[in-house]
C-alpha cells in the first residue's frame, strides 16, 4: 500500500504510477450489510399509524391479561338481587354508591359488571385467536408446502380437500362441541381440527406457482435437494403471503367465536367470551344498548387493529417496498 506521504516523497515527474493488484481487498464486495427483517421493520415503522396501533394493541393485551388477576370477573356476583339487572352506567353507579370503575359500562343480564366482563372476554378471545392461528398456520403451511411440491401427495390431498371442504363447518364444530364438550381447549380443538386444511390449500396454490418458476427449475437442474428447495427457494418468496394470511386469520377466530356463540354452539358459560356476551345482549339490544355495544366495540376494535397491523406488516414484508 502506498500512502500519501510516500507519494509526495516520490519523484515529482512521476505523477502516475501502477497501484498494483491487492488480492485480499479485491475479494470483498463493498456493499452495505442487508438484513431482510431489519428493512421490513424499517418500512413498517415508517408509518406513524402502525406505531399508534401497536401501542393500543399492547395496551389491550396488558389490560386483558393483567387486570383479571387483580380484579377477577364474577358474572354471578349480583345474581340474587334482580334490581341490579340491566342497569345503565349512571343507574349502576347510583345503585352501587357513587362513581366506580367497575360499573363504568353498566350491568348486564344478571347484574354483572359489563366492563370486567368485556376485559375478561377480551383475554379469552385474544388467547383463542393466537393459539388457533399458531396451530392452523404452522400445520397448514408445512402441509401446504409439501402438498404444493409433491404431485403424488397432491392427487390424494385434493380429494380429501374436496370432501372435507364440503362438510358444513358449523355442523362439524357443533358435533365436536357436542361430543367433546364446550370448554376452551375443546373449542380450540374444534376450530383447528379441519381449520388448517383451508390454509394448506391456499398455500398449495401459491407454492405451485413458485415451483415452476425458471429459477426454481434451474435450481432443481443443479440438483438442489427438496428440503433446501422449499426452505431457500420457495418459503422466502412467500413471506409476504404468509403475513397476509396471518393478518386475515388472527381476527377471523375472534369473529368465528362471536358467530358460533351467536348461533348457540360457542364456548360454555364458564368461560367469559365476547361472543357469549353479545349473544346474551342481542335480544334486547335496542332497550339495553350498553350491554350489547360494549363487547361489540371491543371485538371490532381488536379485529380491526389486528387486521390493519397485519396488512401493513404484509406490505412491509414485500421486498419491493424496501427501496
Amino acid at each position: 500500500m502506498t500512502t500519501l506521504e510516500e507519494l509526495k516523497n516520490k519523484n515529482q515527474d512521476e505523477l502516475f504510477y501502477f497501484v498494483g493488484n491487492d488480492v485480499v481487498s479485491s475479494e470483498k464486495i463493498i456493499a452495505p450489510r442487508y438484513s431482510y427483517w431489519k428493512s421490513v421493520f424499517r418500512v413498517f415503522f415508517r408509518k406513524k399509524i402502525n406505531i399508534v396501533m401497536l401501542v393500543i394493541l399492547a395496551l389491550i393485551f396488558l389490560i386483558a391479561f393483567i387486570m383479571p388477576i387483580f380484579l377477577p370477573y364474577d358474572p354471578m356476583e349480583n345474581v340474587r338481587t334482580s334490581s341490579t339487572f340491566y342497569l345503565s352506567p349512571s343507574a349502576a353507579m347510583a345503585k352501587f354508591g357513587g362513581f366506580s370503575f367497575k360499573y363504568l359500562l353498566g350491568t348486564g343480564q344478571f347484574g354483572n359488571s359489563i366492563l370486567y366482563g368485556v376485559i375478561s372476554s377480551a383475554r379469552t378471545s385474544l388467547t383463542l385467536a393466537v393459539i388457533c392461528a399458531a396451530i392452523n398456520m404452522t400445520v397448514g403451511i408445512l402441509i401446504g408446502a409439501v402438498w404444493g411440491y409433491s404431485k403424488k401427495f397432491d392427487a390424494v390431498m385434493i380429494q380429501v380437500y374436496n370432501v372435507v371442504a364440503n362438510v358444513p363447518y358449523i355442523l362439524l364444530i357443533t358435533v365436536l362441541v357436542y361430543v367433546i364438550g364446550s370448554g376452551f381447549w375443546q373449542f380450540v380443538f374444534a376450530l383447528t381440527v379441519t381449520g388448517w386444511l383451508g390454509i394448506a390449500y391456499f398455500f398449495r396454490t401459491q407454492v405451485m406457482i413458485i415451483r415452476d418458476r425458471e429459477y426454481s427449475l434451474a435450481s432443481r437442474c443443479l440438483g438442489t435437494p427438496i428440503p433446501r428447495m422449499v426452505s431457500k427457494n420457495i418459503l422466502p418468496f412467500l413471506t409476504s403471503v404468509i403475513v397476509t394470511l396471518l393478518a386475515t386469520e388472527l381476527p377471523s377466530y375472534i369473529s368465528a367465536e362471536v358467530f358460533l356463540s351467536y348461533i348457540g354452539v360457542g364456548l360454555s358459560s364458564q368461560v367469559p367470551s365476547l361472543g357469549r356476551m353479545i349473544q346474551e345482549a342481542q335480544a334486547a339490544f335496542l332497550i339495553y344498548p350498553w350491554a350489547f355495544w360494549a363487547p361489540v366495540t371491543i371485538a371490532s376494535a381488536i379485529t380491526i387493529i389486528l387486521y390493519v397491523l397485519g396488512q401493513n406488516l404484509a406490505d412491509a414484508s414485500d421486498p419491493r417496498t424496501h427501496m
Binding site: P168, I170, T248, Y262
Partner: protein, 527 residues
C-alpha cells in the same frame, strides 16, 4: 369438454356420497341418539316396555336400526297358512301368549323358529319380560315383548337414503282393492283449475303434471325428492316440502268442487285441488263433492316459501353487490392512493375485520332508528319494507369483497406489459380501462358469479336470525340445536349439492369467458 364434464360430475357425485356418509357417521354415531326424545310428548306419555318398543320403532323410522316384533312374525306366519281373514286360530293365540312366561318362552316352537331365523341373519334378540303388580295384574306399559334388533351400519343407511331419495308415482301405488285394474291409468285432461293437466288414477296424487297461471306455470307431483324427514322441528314433514311450501296464512276463494263443475254452484274454500291425494275411506261429504276417491288435499297458502324468501333476498342483494362493487372497485384502481381509494379501503377493512354480527346489528339499529324501517321481517306491517334491511345487510359484505378483488385484479393488470404497449400505441386511457384492463380483470370475477347466484338459495344464517326471516339459512343451525337428524342430513345434502354445482358452473363459465383457459388437460392449458 364433454368427457371432462362427465368425469367432473362423476367425481362430484362420489364426493357428495362421501360427504353424506361422513355427516351420517358424525350425526348417527357420535351424538347420543336418545336426545331425539327430549321434546317428544308420546315418549313422555309411555313407560316401561311400551316406551322401549316405541324407542325401537322411532329408531327404525330414523334409520338407526331395523327391528321385528315377534307378534308380527306370528301374524304373518299364520296368515300365510290360513289366509288373511281366518288366521286367528287357538294355535295362534297360544303362540302369542307363549312369550308371557319368562322361564318357558324359549320352549315354544314358534319362538324357537323366530329366534333361529333372526339370529342367523345377524339380529340381536331382545326379550322384555312382563312385570306384574302386587294384585297380579300387569303393570301399565309392562307387557312382554320379544324383538329382533339389528343396528344399521353406515353403508346400509347410506344405501337406504339414496334408494329413497327419488320416488316416481306409478298407477299401482294405491293398494286399495276397491280400485280395480281397469280404473287405473293416466289421462291427459283439460284442467278446470288450470290450463291442462296429466292426471292419474291409482297414483297417490291425482294431478301428476299441470299447467296454470301461477309461477313457474308448470308444476308436478310425479317425481318426489325425499331429502329427509324432520323429527323435532317440523313434525314428520319432508324437508323438501318444508322449504318449498308457502308458509303464509290460509287464503280462501270462491271455487267449485269437482262435482260442481258444469253447474253455477260455488263455495268458499281454501282447498288446493291440485294437491288431491287418494283417500281409502272418504266421508259422506267427500263423496258428495268428489267423483272419485281422491279427496285429501292441502290448503292454498299466501306468501312465499322459505326457499323463495331466501332466494329473493339473496338474488337482489347479489345484483346490488355486483352493480355497486365492480364499478367502485374499478374507480378505486383508477384513483389509486387518492381520496376515493382511501375511503374505499376504509370500508373494505371495516367489512373484512369487524365480525359480521357486529355490523349487521349496527346497520339494524341505524335503519330502525333513522329510517324507521321494520326490524322484524315476520311481523312487518308492509311486507315489502321488511325486505329492505335484510337485503342491504346481505349486500354489505359482498360489495366489500367484490370491491377488494376487483381493485386488486385491476391493479395487477395495470402494471402488465400489454397495457404499457396499448398506451404506447396511443390508445386513450378510457379505452385502455374499458376494453383491456376491465375485461381481463373480470376473468377472475366471472368464476364466482354462479356461486353467488346459487348461493342465494342457501340463505344467510345471521341476517335471517337477526331480522327473524323465515328462510332456509337457519335450517341447519336450528336442526343442530334441536337434534333433528333428518334435517341435518337433508340440509347438508342441499348445501353441498349447491356448492358443487356452483363450482362446476363457475369453471364452465370461466372457460367460456376466457378462451385461453381449457378445462380438459388434453388440449393444452392445464399441467
Amino acid at each position: 369438454m364433454g368427457k371432462y364434464l362427465l368425469k367432473r360430475i362423476l367425481f362430484s357425485i362420489v364426493s357428495l356420497l362421501i360427504v353424506i356418509m361422513t355427516v351420517m357417521l358424525l350425526v348417527f354415531s357420535l351424538i347420543n341418539r336418545n336426545v331425539i326424545f327430549q321434546t317428544d310428548d308420546r315418549w313422555n306419555k309411555t313407560s316401561g316396555n311400551d316406551q322401549k318398543v316405541y324407542e325401537y320403532n322411532q329408531f327404525q323410522k330414523y334409520q338407526y336400526l331395523t327391528y321385528t316384533n315377534y307378534t308380527n312374525f306370528v301374524k304373518s306366519k299364520y296368515s300365510e297358512k290360513y289366509g288373511e281373514d281366518n288366521f286367528t286360530t287357538p294355535e295362534y293365540s297360544a303362540d302369542l301368549k307363549a312369550i308371557k312366561n319368562a322361564k318357558t318362552y324359549r320352549d315354544n316352537p314358534t319362538v324357537k323358529e323366530f329366534i333361529e331365523k333372526y339370529e342367523s341373519e345377524g339380529y340381536e334378540i331382545v326379550y322384555l319380560p312382563q312385570q306384574a303388580q302386587k294384585n297380579g295384574t300387569i303393570k301399565k306399559g309392562y307387557s312382554a315383548y320379544l324383538l329382533a334388533v339389528k343396528e344399521n351400519n353406515v353403508f346400509l343407511r347410506l344405501w337406504l337414503y339414496i334408494k329413497g331419495l327419488f320416488t316416481v308415482e306409478t298407477t299401482s301405488d294405491v293398494t286399495d282393492p276397491a280400485l280395480t285394474e281397469e280404473m287405473r291409468g293416466i289421462k291427459f285432461i283439460n284442467d278446470p283449475y288450470g290450463w291442462w293437466a296429466i292426471t292419474g288414477s291409482g297414483t297417490t296424487h291425482k294431478y301428476l303434471l299441470y299447467f296454470d297461471g301461477r309461477f313457474p306455470f308448470i308444476h308436478q307431483n310425479w317425481i318426489h325428492l325425499h331429502l329427509g324427514i324432520s323429527y323435532t322441528q317440523y313434525r314428520n314433514q319432508e324437508i323438501f316440502d318444508v322449504i318449498t311450501a308457502p308458509n303464509g296464512s290460509i287464503i280462501t276463494s270462491m271455487q267449485q268442487f269437482p262435482n260442481m263443475i258444469g253447474t253455477d254452484e260455488y263455495e268458499e274454500t281454501a282447498i288446493d285441488f291440485h294437491t288431491l291425494t287418494y283417500n281409502a275411506e272418504p266421508t259422506v261429504d267427500d263423496l258428495k263433492n268428489y267423483p272419485d276417491n281422491y279427496t285429501s288435499s292441502s290448503m292454498h297458502r299466501a306468501g312465499l316459501s322459505r326457499l323463495e324468501i331466501s332466494f329473493v333476498m339473496g338474488i337482489i342483494s347479489t345484483i346490488i353487490a355486483y352493480l355497486l362493487g365492480l364499478p367502485i372497485g374499478i374507480l378505486m384502481a383508477r384513483k389509486k392512493d387518492k381520496l376515493a381509494d382511501k375511503i374505499g379501503n376504509l370500508y373494505i377493512i371495516f367489512i373484512m375485520a369487524v365480525p359480521s354480527l357486529a355490523y349487521i346489528f349496527m346497520f339494524a339499529a341505524f335503519g330502525t332508528k333513522v329510517f324507521n324501517l321494520p326490524y322484524n321481517f315476520a311481523t312487518a306491517e308492509v311486507q315489502i319494507l321488511g325486505y329492505i334491511l335484510p337485503i342491504i345487510s346481505l349486500s354489505l359484505p359482498s360489495v366489500g369483497s367484490l370491491m377488494k378483488w376487483m381493485r386488486r385484479y385491476m391493479i395487477d393488470q395495470m402494471n402488465s406489459d400489454y397495457v404499457k404497449f396499448a398506451r404506447a400505441e396511443g390508445l386513450s386511457e378510457r379505452e385502455i380501462y374499458r376494453t383491456h384492463i376491465s375485461r381481463n380483470a373480470l376473468i377472475y370475477i366471472v368464476h364466482g358469479i354462479p356461486g353467488s347466484i346459487l348461493g342465494s338459495l342457501t340463505g344467510a344464517i345471521i341476517t335471517e336470525r337477526v331480522y327473524n326471516v323465515p328462510g332456509v339459512g337457519n335450517l341447519l343451525t336450528r336442526a343442530i340445536n334441536g337434534h333433528d337428524n333428518g334435517v341435518i342430513i337433508a340440509s347438508t345434502v342441499f348445501y353441498t349439492t349447491i356448492t358443487i354445482i356452483s363450482i362446476i358452473l363457475g369453471d364452465i363459465l370461466l372457460a367460456k369467458y376466457d378462451p385461453r383457459i381449457s378445462l380438459s388437460s388434453e388440449r393444452g392449458g392445464g399441467r
